[in-house]
């Protein structure tokens, strides 16, 4: 299983890393962070220009159980899972990607 986990982590990209980070940061500030907020932040950092791509990134993370999507008051809010937290820590410790601020949370 560890091999599988390592392979899953290795296939993630910087946008996955950023989505995980922003979702965690929002939770730490008791702010709800949803798919639209993630799309806006990705667009702000010129990572994607289409919402479909943002949704695809998020769905891949939820499929891998690194992120959970919860429908609350007609909004699909994003919460990082315990596995996602480990992934985020690991990616950060490997110094592959650097964090970028969320325009929604800090802008």
């Amino acid at each position: 299983m560890k091999d599988l986990f390592d392979k899953q982590v290795a296939s993630l990209r910087d946008y996955h890393f950023l989505i995980l980070y922003w979702a965690a940061k929002a939770e730490s500030q008791h702010i709800k962070y949803n798919i639209t907020n993630a799309y806006d932040d990705l667009k702000y950092h010129r990572i994607t220009r289409t919402k479909q791509s943002a949704v695809a990134y998020i769905e891949s993370l939820t499929t891998l159980c690194f992120l959970s999507m919860v429908e609350e008051h007609n909004r699909k809010n994003l919460y990082i899972t315990n596995y996602g937290a480990k992934v985020l820590e690991l990616l950060y410790s490997q110094n592959i990607y650097s964090i970028k601020p969320s325009n929604f949370l800090e802008g």
Binding site: A24, S28, I80, A85, E89, S93, I99
Partner: protein, 366 residues
């Protein structure tokens, strides 16, 4: 007259020549400890040295020599100088004396100086003593042997003192007693009835002016046992063992004049090595068995002596290093996983201020 240099040398000189020895030291306190006819203080620059002596530092002795140079060089002419090679004063002052003598073109026979050195027992004594001795033998003694401007060099070792646990005073008496066996050869020649050969004062003084190491010993002579075997069994344990003999001298004292011819077998022994010894056969009615005093002059290269000391000094240093390692350093086997170690280092370097970890900790997902 004998001349003592430094603490140990002064004690020996005063034992040999009670009341007529001259002694040199940098410390007034040390001079006061020894009875001597003449006490000369070499002036050291440091006040500590004036009070406590050179404290194993030969450089202090060397510097102090300038203050007594003329007097010392004049006094040692034709005399016997005693010093230990391990300390500071004896080693320092004697080093300059030997260097001065080595630099001279030639010295008349009557002015040649016999040097008596006491070397440390490397296995028991301080490594400072051993290192000082190595420098002394490598430098001034080596030069003096090459120049040939000294008389006999007599090297006593502290080995017996330490191995047999002998008090210093007793050991010094043993050294002087042993030396007197050799020095009394011409005196006995005058006192006892001569049976064959002759060693008078002039012969003896000439022998003492030869610039070689001198090994002497005294033992009861059994004419039925080969002389070589007896000699080897009775080497003087206070002195370093001799090498190939260049010249020799012996005094045979016989209780019965009928045994006079027994000295020929001794001559035969030396003849095998192409050595023609000076000899004297005397009648000593006080003895029960024949007694022989032998002196062997040999030219052992000082570098070989130094090698012996170096080997021991090297072993001491290695042991000290090994002991220090054993005492202070524990080298346990470490199983290191580089990935884990890298992560550990990363965790340690990313402290409280780290953004991502703080976020994850705050939400309780780690």
């Amino acid at each position: 007259m004998s001349v003592g240099v430094g603490g140990a040398g002064s004690k020996l000189a005063s034992l040999l020549d009670e009341g007529s020895a001259t002694i040199f030291d940098v410390s007034g306190v040390e001079l006061d400890k020894v009875e001597a006819c003449s006490k000369i203080r070499a002036v050291a620059h440091s006040s500590k040295a004036q009070l406590k002596g050179s404290r194993k530092d030969p450089e202090i002795g060397r510097q102090a020599f300038q203050s007594v140079k003329n007097k010392a060089l004049d006094l040692i002419k034709g005399q016997t100088v005693f010093c230990s090679t391990g300390g500071g004063t004896g080693n320092g002052l004697c080093s300059v004396m030997l260097e001065h003598l080595s630099a001279l073109d030639s010295i008349s026979i009557t002015n040649k100086t016999v040097f008596v050195f006491v070397v440390p027992y490397a296995q028991r004594e301080s490594s400072d003593f051993v290192d000082n001795t190595i420098s002394f033998l490598e430098g001034p003694v080596s030069k003096a042997i090459d120049a040939g401007n000294t008389g006999n060099l007599i090297v006593f070792s502290n080995k017996v003192k330490f191995e047999q646990r002998i008090p210093e005073k007793t050991f010094n008496k043993m050294i002087i007693e042993s030396l007197n066996h050799f020095l009394h050869i011409p005196i006995k020649g005058e006192e006892l009835k001569q049976l064959d050969g002759n060693i008078d004062y002039e012969d003896f003084c000439l022998y003492k002016t030869k610039p070689y190491f001198n090994h002497f010993c005294q033992f009861e002579y059994d004419q039925d046992v080969p002389f070589g075997k007896q000699l080897k069994a009775n080497y003087n344990e206070l002195l370093l063992d001799p090498e190939g003999t260049i010249e020799s001298l012996f005094l045979l004292e016989l209780p019965n004049p009928d045994l006079t011819n027994s000295f020929y077998s001794i001559l035969d022994y030396f003849a095998e090595d192409d050595v023609s010894p000076m000899y004297s056969v005397l009648h000593n009615p006080e003895l029960k068995k024949p007694l022989i005093t032998v002196s062997l002059l040999y030219s052992r290269k000082p570098l070989e002596l130094v090698d012996d000391f170096n080997a021991i000094s090297g072993r001491h240093k290695r042991n000290r290093v090994e002991k220090s390692l054993d005492q202070y350093v524990t080298l346990s086997r470490l199983e290191v996983d580089l990935t884990n170690e890298a992560e550990k280092v990363w965790r340690e370097s990313h402290t409280e201020g780290d953004e991502v970890l703080n976020v994850l900790k705050r939400i309780g997902k780690l």
